[in-house]
């Protein structure tokens, strides 16, 4: 199960990458809260006031940034930001996935044993895609109509 959103910026990938990696320009209150290197961790305050504990997964300059994050006490999801040069600029695609994942225990907010983002990554990878099968049967259940109507409306934007 994942959420995918994208936007095309009217600039070259280098300029788009510079903006994307300066998190306080679009995502957080303070860019210094998280060093963008694999394995680095930090507490983010988002521009809407929410907080997330984040662990950087992968950084490929000019192309790709991914990190795990979770709100206090909540399950972790993987956020992948991918840049791609297109005719009129740079397409930025954000995919947030892992909603069927396991509880996170690798951060100061969760307490307990360390499980690490990579372990969660493997768990989420096996759990998430199978929801695609879920949609086929969900759509056959006429008595779930109100929920289905919303599912149809957002199916284009929400990957189920």
């Amino acid at each position: 199960m994942d959420v995918t959103r994208e936007i095309t910026l009217p600039v070259e990938p280098d300029a788009a990458w510079e903006a994307v990696t300066d998190l306080e320009r679009w995502l957080t209150e303070d860019s210094s809260a998280l060093e963008l290197e694999p394995g680095s961790e930090g507490e983010l305050t988002l521009r809407d006031g929410e907080t997330r504990w984040a662990t950087v997964e992968e950084v490929r300059a000019g192309e790709h940034l991914s990190f795990w994050w979770h709100a206090p006490g909540a399950l972790a999801t993987l956020v992948e930001v991918t840049l791609e040069a297109v005719a009129d600029g740079t397409r930025v695609v954000v995919v947030e996935s892992g909603y069927a994942g396991e509880p996170v225990c690798g951060s100061p907010w969760a307490g307990g044993a360390q499980s690490g983002p990579r372990a969660r990554s493997a768990a989420a990878a096996t759990a998430s895609p199978s929801f695609a099968l879920g949609r086929a049967w969900v759509l056959s259940l006429a008595d779930w109509e109100p929920a289905l109507e919303r599912l149809r409306r957002c199916a284009g934007a929400v990957g189920v």
């Binding site: 959103r5 399950l75 929801f131 259940l141 109100p146």
Partner: protein, 108 residues
């Protein structure tokens, strides 16, 4: 307190398993409503069905009603709709963040 996010994730986790989806499908369509009836229809044991039903119940996707010596289940679609709503709100948040990114490009 269980947050919307946790509840949504419980729903998606419950639906991630194909056998549980089959169990829920049978219950929702009225084909079967007890663990015994479900085990007769599906290629899994009654014990396995009972575990799947317990997980579906925790995700609030089914409701258990005791009727004499048996427990009858019925599907409750509400949490699925709530989970979808929550996913939509996550998408809306990303729309807003990406719009902020576009504004940041306009005004460096």
């Amino acid at each position: 307190m269980i947050s919307d996010a946790d509840q949504a994730q419980a729903v998606f986790a419950a639906l991630a398993d194909p056998t549980r989806r089959a169990v829920l499908h049978s219950v929702a369509s009225g084909e079967a409503s007890t663990a015994t009836e479900l085990a007769a229809r599906l290629p899994v044991s009654r014990q396995a069905v009972a575990k799947h039903l317990a997980l579906l119940e925790r995700a609030r996707l089914v409701d258990a009603q005791r009727a004499g010596r048996e427990v009858r289940f019925q599907a409750t679609p509400g949490p699925l709709g709530e989970a979808i709503e929550w996913m939509e709100s996550v998408g809306t948040q990303w729309d807003e963040r990406l719009a902020a990114l576009a504004r940041a490009i306009d005004k460096p």
